[in-house]
């Protein structure tokens, strides 16, 4: 999961002409990840991991780094498992 997300982000940077290796704890905003790239990242995550990502969840705390995103997704999965349906 971590590698998949990092690869997507690196590809986003490449699409903008930048070769950046993204580590799990890197601050994505400080690297220059912009709001449109974030919109695409959220759509990718929702599709790739079959999880609904409400707008209210896409925050600096939960989407600031690859590790934070993975933590958020794992928490979402745990919640889905405890809530039937």
């Amino acid at each position: 999961m971590e590698a998949t997300i990092a690869q997507f982000i690196e590809q986003e940077f490449r699409d903008q002409g930048e070769d950046i290796a993204v580590a799990a704890d890197d601050d994505l905003v400080a690297l220059g990840f912009d709001s449109i790239a974030y919109v695409r990242l959220v759509a990718f995550i929702a599709d790739q991991f079959a999880v609904r990502v409400p707008d209210a969840d896409v925050t600096v705390e939960q989407f600031g780094s690859v590790r934070a995103i993975v933590g958020y997704l794992e928490q979402r999965r745990a919640e889905d498992e405890t809530v039937p349906g």
Binding site: Q16, D27, S35
Partner: protein, 543 residues
């Protein structure tokens, strides 16, 4: 708008801070994510910065670079640089080092304010340009004298006692230049305050206001809250980059900081509307939403107005060269029309002319270029006297003196009620998500690649009122070996990204065998735009 209490105008920006620190020392001058700096502390700390800079040789007319992500310290340093008598030069913290280097060299900047997230970039730059001191880095971060903030605050807190007048330089903001190099717009304390005072009065800024600083400091939109807020003794609520990019975090900040005035580009407000989780937020403290920089799609504006029924909305217009010149308090918008809103009418004390290509005034109702005469007019472009003169129209006054107008390059129509409608540009300058970009600068950047024969850059409407940048390129034929095989669109994107701020990098660069031409042999940019709109989905989904 409500009339604010009467204030005497200040002559220079530091006086506004001193006045507020005297009147209400404990009142918040700046907040960021719960941290607060009072006016008394801002006064003391900006003096500490000024005294430190003075001890390193900074004086009147010097330039101090600001190259960092947003922070309270950055705003303190901005005020400190001006207090030392210097102009601050804000630099986009996400710009490639080649772009930053040009600004540092052009302004001969020896004193920089930065932050630890930029220490690698500063270290690289300090081997290329003659930097002496960098505030905000820790010793060892870069091979220059680094002075961390804790150390800065130990500098003397007394007023540095620099004699400044309204004619002294306050700041230099760099904008895209059509010659391929960004150019610096110089504002004095007088021209900066002329706008700050009229805007603060027009929009009724009071000490109890908490005004967002959403735009980066290198974007002239920020001067509205930074100086308009200061003359009113109001609080500036810094929106850090992450909160500016993630709408749910932006709306959380608006609620947490009980923001009363938003100032942002339309793109940020469209994002806020569609992804800002507004249902979850209490935003009743907002009394005014100001926006500027580009056209706000009427449909989205109307929807946001309905979501914030207690707030008024204001469109602020003006190129950075004249700060701001017209504004519109948005009236109720008809539900059945998406006609663009106007840019409103002039602030008091300004004059406009609308002229044809021979500088003759056109009849009201006809399209012409907007020219502005105002005390907020820049001093000029930094070390570009020819460009400065070309940007001006001089008119002889009846007394033999001379009026100086700024040529905005914006095409407008004056309406019968004295307001102006924005029609478009007469040149190759565009706005993309609020950023002002000269397409010629991008062509120059891509064209500097050794294997490029010609680069043609054009803007495609994105369907949300903004524009996206694309490029086609032809390669030099018959180079050594099969050189063309070595370069692809990706390599050219990297080349562009190393030279341009991110927002100016085309979203794609296509290599083509030939560029479509008009009958006169020029690159047919209209055909390229039409093809792009036909062939690709240019609409970035916003919901």
């Amino acid at each position: 708008m409500t009339a604010p209490p009467h204030r005497e105008p200040v002559r220079v920006i530091p006086e506004a801070i001193t006045r507020a620190a005297t009147a209400a020392p404990d009142h918040a001058a700046v907040t960021m994510l719960g941290a607060t700096l009072s006016y008394a502390e801002l006064e003391r700390r900006s003096s500490a910065v000024a005294n430190l800079l003075r001890s390193r040789g900074v004086g009147r007319g010097d330039r101090v670079g600001l190259f960092a992500h947003k922070s309270i310290e950055l705003l303190v340093a901005m005020h400190g640089a001006m207090k030392a008598g210097a102009a601050y030069v804000p630099i986009n913290p996400d710009a490639p080092t080649g772009y930053v280097r040009h600004i540092l060299e052009d302004c001969e900047i020896r004193h920089l304010v930065s932050g630890r997230s930029k220490r690698n970039a500063v270290a690289e730059l300090s081997t290329q340009v003659g930097l002496a001191t960098c505030l905000g880095l820790e010793p060892g971060d870069a091979p220059v004298e680094c002075v961390g903030w804790e150390e800065v605050w130990t500098s003397p807190h007394h007023d540095p006692d620099v004699t400044l007048t309204g004619d002294d330089l306050a700041y230099i903001i760099f904008t895209s230049g059509s010659t391929g190099r960004p150019k610096g717009i110089i504002h004095t304390h007088r021209s900066a305050l002329a706008y700050a005072e009229v805007a603060a009065a027009t929009f009724g800024f009071v000490p109890d206001d908490r005004i967002t600083n959403h735009a980066p400091l290198n974007f002239d939109l920020s001067t509205l809250e930074l100086f308009g807020g200061a003359v009113a003794g109001a609080t500036v609520a810094i929106v850090p980059e992450g909160h500016a990019r993630l709408p749910a975090s932006f709306s959380q900040l608006l609620e947490d900081e009980r923001v009363t005035v938003i100032n942002a580009v339309p793109f940020a407000l469209v994002q806020l509307l569609h992804r800002g989780a507004l249902d979850d937020r209490d935003l009743r403290a907002i009394r005014l939403v100001l926006f500027g920089g580009e056209v706000y799609p009427t449909r989205d504006l109307r929807t946001l107005m309905a979501r914030l029924p207690h707030a008024r909305f204001g469109n602020v217009y003006g190129p950075a060269e004249v700060n701001g010149c017209t504004y519109l308090i948005v009236p109720d918008l008809a539900a059945d029309s998406d006609e663009p809103i106007s840019i409103g009418g002039l602030y008091p004390g300004m004059e406009a002319m609308v002229v044809d290509e021979h500088d003759r005034p056109v009849a009201p109702g006809d399209i012409g270029e907007l020219l502005i005469r105002s005390d907020a007019h820049m001093l000029g472009y930094w070390r570009q006297p020819l460009a400065t003169e070309r940007s001006r129209l001089r008119r002889t006054r009846p007394d033999g003196g001379e009026d100086v107008f700024y040529r905005t390059g914006d095409l407008v129509i004056e309406q019968s009620d004295g307001t102006y409608s924005f029609v478009g540009r007469g040149d190759r300058q565009i706005k993309t998500r609020g950023h002002r970009v000269e397409l010629d600068e991008i062509e120059t950047a891509i064209g500097s690649h050794p294997e490029v024969e010609q680069a043609v850059v054009y803007a495609v409407p994105d369907g949300d009122g903004s524009q996206l940048i694309e490029a086609v390129v032809t390669l030099l034929a018959g180079g050594a070996g099969d050189a063309a095989a070595d370069v692809d669109g990706q390599a050219l994107l990297r080349h562009a990204a190393a030279r341009l701020p991110k927002y100016a990098v085309p979203r794609q660069i296509r290599i083509v065998s030939s560029v479509p031409r008009t009958s006169t042999g020029k690159a047919d940019r209209i055909a390229l735009v039409e093809a792009a709109m036909r062939n690709t989905d240019t609409h970035t989904p916003t919901s």
